[in-house]
Each structure stands twice: as C-alpha cells, then as structure tokens.
Symmetry: C2
Subunit: 318 residues, 2 copies
C-alpha cells in the first residue's frame, strides 16, 4: 500500500509499504484523513526510536472486523493505545498506561499516514454524521486536551494560563474556555493569537503575564523556555500541567517547587467520548485550525509545511 | 543574648546577639530546646541568603505576650511562617505561602538557636504535659511530614516508597506507616535502617526496589540521585512528593513525566495539631532519633556533628 515510512530519523514515501494484518479483535480501517502532530515531527527528530508508518490522528472507515461485523462500513476514530488487558496497569483501569501497549504510529504499531491501519475494535468510536472528516481528525488531540480536566479540578473563576498558541495550545485553550475558568493564552504568533481572539479567548504576551499569579498553568510549547515561563507564572500551591513531549531534558530548581509547593502534572492521552461530544455540538470549532491539505505521496512536503513557524494543522488524505 | 549567628555562609557564636523585640501580637519566648535541621546546614551552604539567628525547630516557654496574657508561662511550639493576613495567599487561607511572610530562622526573622525568639501568638501551640521537650522539638519536621497526607490521598494498601533514611525520611516513614500503606524505606545507612526496622518498618536497598512499581514515592534525600531513583520507582500515573530543599538544580526528562503522566508534588510545612497528637499519643516515637545534645556555645560543633554521615537529630540547649 501507499504510506509514509519513518526509519532512522528519515521519512520517505513508500508505494510498497506492508498492509496491516489485523489480529483477533482488531479491525482493518481505511484512512479517510490524517493529521500531522508535533509528536510526528519529534519522532522524526529521534524523540523516540520508532520505525514504520507514523501518524496517530485519523478518521477512517471500518472495512474488516472479524466477529464484530456491526462495525463494518462505519466511519470511526480510534484511541491510539492498544492495551493487553492483563497487566497491572490494565487491571487497575489505566489502559493507556498498559505495560505492553502498542501505540498507533508511535510504538510498534504502524500508523495512520497510510491507506489502511489496524486497531482493536475496543478502541473505536463512531463519528456522528454531522461531524465532517476534517473535524473528526482532531479527536485525538482534543481528547488529549480534555485529559487535563480528568486530572485537575477546574472551577469557574480559576485563573488559568495556557502557554503556547500552537496546535495543542489552541485545543487546550478552546476546551478550557468551556469550564468558566479565567483563561489567558500566551503565544508568539500574531496569526495564531488572532485565531484565539476570534474564538472569544483572551491572549497576552509573555512579558505581560503576572508573575506567581495563576492557579493553573498548562505548558503546551514543548520547550524549556515555555516551562520556565510556566513556573514563573504559577502561584504558590498552584499546578503546572505538562502537555508536550519533546526530545531532551529540562533543568529545574527543585527547591523552588518544594518551597512554593508547586504540583507538576504530566498529561498525555485523554477521553474520546467527551471530545466527540464537543465536536458534534459545535462547542469547539476546529475548522480554523486547518492550514493545509496534502496527498500521501506529498507527505514529505506536508511534514515540511507542518514544521514551519506559525503553521497549525496539516492534513494528509490518502 | 547568646545565640548562633549566620552571615555570608559563616556560622559563629555570639554572646552579644540582639534580643528579639516582639511586635504587636507577638510573644517573647524563652527557648528550652532546639533542633538542627538539614535546612540549617543548607542555609550555611548558601541555599538561601539568610543573615541572623538560624534555627526553626524549637520548644519554649512564653515569657511575654502583651494582650494575650493567657499564654504566659505556657510551654509551646510555634509554626514558623509569620503571615500578614492581608495578601492574596493569606486571604485564600494559604498562610504558609503569605507573600510577605517572615520565616523563623530562615527568612528575615531571627530563629531558635538563641536564648529567646519572637513569634506571633497566632503561631503558638501548647505542648501537652506528657510530651517531653526532646519530643516536642520534633514538632515542626513531623508536621512537615504530615503535609504529604494533606496533599495526597493515601489509602491502606497503597504502595509507598520513602527514599532517604535521614532525619526527615525517618519522620515521613513513621507517620506514613500509620496510614496502612504498604511502605518500604530506602536508605544507605545500616544504623538508620536498623532504627526504622526497630520501629516495625520495612526497608530495602535502592537496587532491590521494583522499577515503575510504586503508587507514591516520597523523596527525602535532597539530592539528584534520590530524585532519579524516585522517578525510576514510581508507576505510570503515580505521584512523587518532593520534601527536601537544597541548593542547585536537577535535570529532568520532562517527556517521561508526560508519557507516564507522573505527578510531582512539592511539599513543605505542615499542620502542627495532628503532629502534636501523634507525639502525645505515642504513635510516633521520636526519641531514638536524638543523636547528640550541645549547649549553644558549642553550636559550631553541633553543626559539624549534624553534618556527619549517619547522624540524625542534634539538639541545642541554651
């Protein structure tokens, strides 16, 4: 099949990539549309040693689902962690932390930048008819944004800062805005900030952010500078949520965390059902975030485009 | 008065230190006994630029309390953060995070390694008659240990690791043992580990600790190695509590925190009332932790003694 292929930090287009072979309980899915995420760009930079088809944001149609024929022909999105069901983490209900998990396009499972992919039927969610492909493709990062609200109690009036106006920051901000929190988004790109303002959100420059003032700061930049700003902005006994994965380490003054009793919360994948609900009801509008569309065979150009400063979501259509 | 005096990272004994002059609402307290904490040793190493009388662990007698005469003659311990009552943090009930706070022997308030000190009457707690001075002097670090239980829900059966068998680790372990958690303490000093075992606690060597297994890890060593071990020992979606302040920074793989959704919680001062209750009821026995006693004029020797490997609490008596 046609697919993008990542190996040794090199991405290439292959017309002869191996087709997925669904295991028992898995569905074969034809990809309708896929999105390029920062994690894909980081994988190519060697953040994690993955070889195969990258891509984990997608919407598709079930073409094969042995024993689960009810799914045939349905338009679906899919949770990206395929869990074993038997390990300590699975038995404790932490499926996305399964010790033996494969992760679509990230860990020992070929991903969505291809004509077809395979995922367990248990991972699938049907997309409501009113949600177009180019909205449904945002389900995975929007669910990841909603993970924050699974981890931290957010009350109306809470002083919240989102650092980063990129792909993830846009979704985090749009979903947090629905909580009634007093939200401000910090970014460096006029066009991205304008998008947030058009959605009714308040934005600010980093220099104008009150120091030690926010109850909750969400770090969505994935760089050490963003983390420093987050730690400078949070109030004593406040919380900093870390949403970005990136290669490399950060240096922290641990004593400042102790003295100010700061809580740092790592945050990854989130719940699909409420994310689909937000898209179906129109309470989160992701359409302004689509910046470009490419065919699979133009995948390298799509990656280059997605890596340019100021660019939001780049979509791939097989 | 006689006191220890810290200035420019140099500690000396002074016979002519200035006596405390209580402000409105403050009491003058005669120190009966004071304890040397790692924070005192770190202050001398320049962890925080304090000049004056160090020392924040003490038990004393109220000798003067204008307008609050009911306190006269009472044997007391005192919370170390003196708060303003009016700032955002105080008004939100986070008194120990007051933006204008002074901290006994740590920040712009002379401390307990002296004949007398001054603290707001609001900070005082009477010591029950059955609690001897050499137990009451542990109230501040024991309260700091109990702060963990204010921040993290600890259920019976929770897999908890305490890293560090020193002064703070001993108190943290002894108080966490009362929760019914499955507790193991990691340390490097045979005599300190033996003390924990004598108190009925389970101990282990770092090498024998399961990787990624603990629900909760409490880091009490105050060094980067302890932090690394904590992060290696905690399970995905687990919590690492940081209890130690020390000079310098640590380097962290932030992506690992995100992928494993680890929570880091900085933890400082805690509640005095339950700590006093544990001492009064005998449920925490601190007497085995006293390793040496010195007079104030032997304060330099006391600091040297406290800094030696394997040494637990060193007490000073004016």
């Amino acid at each position: 099949m046609r697919a993008l292929w990542l190996e040794a930090e090199t991405l290439r287009f292959r017309a002869d990539a191996p087709e997925p072979e669904p295991l028992v309980g898995e569905a074969r899915i034809r990809v309708l549309c896929a999105g390029v995420c920062n994690t894909d760009l980081e994988l190519r930079r060697g953040y994690y040693p993955f070889a195969g088809v990258p891509g984990h944001e997608f919407v598709g149609v079930v073409e094969q689902a042995a024993g689960h024929e009810i799914w045939l022909g349905r338009r679906i999105v899919g949770e990206i962690n395929a869990s074993c069901g038997g390990c300590t983490a699975c038995r404790a209900g932490r499926l996305s932390h399964c010790e033996r998990r494969t992760v679509l396009g990230i860990r020992t499972r070929n991903g969505a930048f291809a004509e077809w992919l395979a995922l367990p039927v248990a991972n699938l969610h049907e997309v409501p008819a009113g949600v177009p492909d180019e909205a449904a493709v945002f389900i995975e990062p929007l669910a990841a944004a909603l993970e924050i609200q699974q981890q931290v109690a957010i009350e109306p009036g809470l002083q919240v800062v989102v650092i980063g106006d990129g792909k993830l920051g846009q979704l985090v901000a749009r979903s947090l805005a629905l909580t009634g929190a007093e939200l401000v988004v910090v970014g460096r790109h006029a066009t991205k900030l304008a998008l947030l303002e058009a959605a009714g959100l308040r934005t600010a420059a980093a220099a104008d952010l009150p120091r030690r003032g926010a109850d909750l700061v969400v770090e969505c930049t994935g760089n050490a500078e963003g983390l420093s700003l987050a730690l400078a902005s949070v109030r004593p006994r406040g919380t900093v949520v870390l949403k970005s994965t990136y290669r490399g380490a950060a240096t922290l003054n641990m004593s400042a965390l102790v003295v100010d009793e700061i809580t740092l919360v790592g945050s990854r994948c989130g719940p699909f059902a409420p994310a689909l609900e937000l898209l179906a009801s129109g309470r989160v509008d992701v359409r302004p975030l689509v910046h470009a569309r490419y065919g699979l065979d133009e995948g390298l150009a799509a990656f280059e485009h997605a890596a340019r400063p100021g660019v939001l979501k780049v979509l791939l259509r097989p």
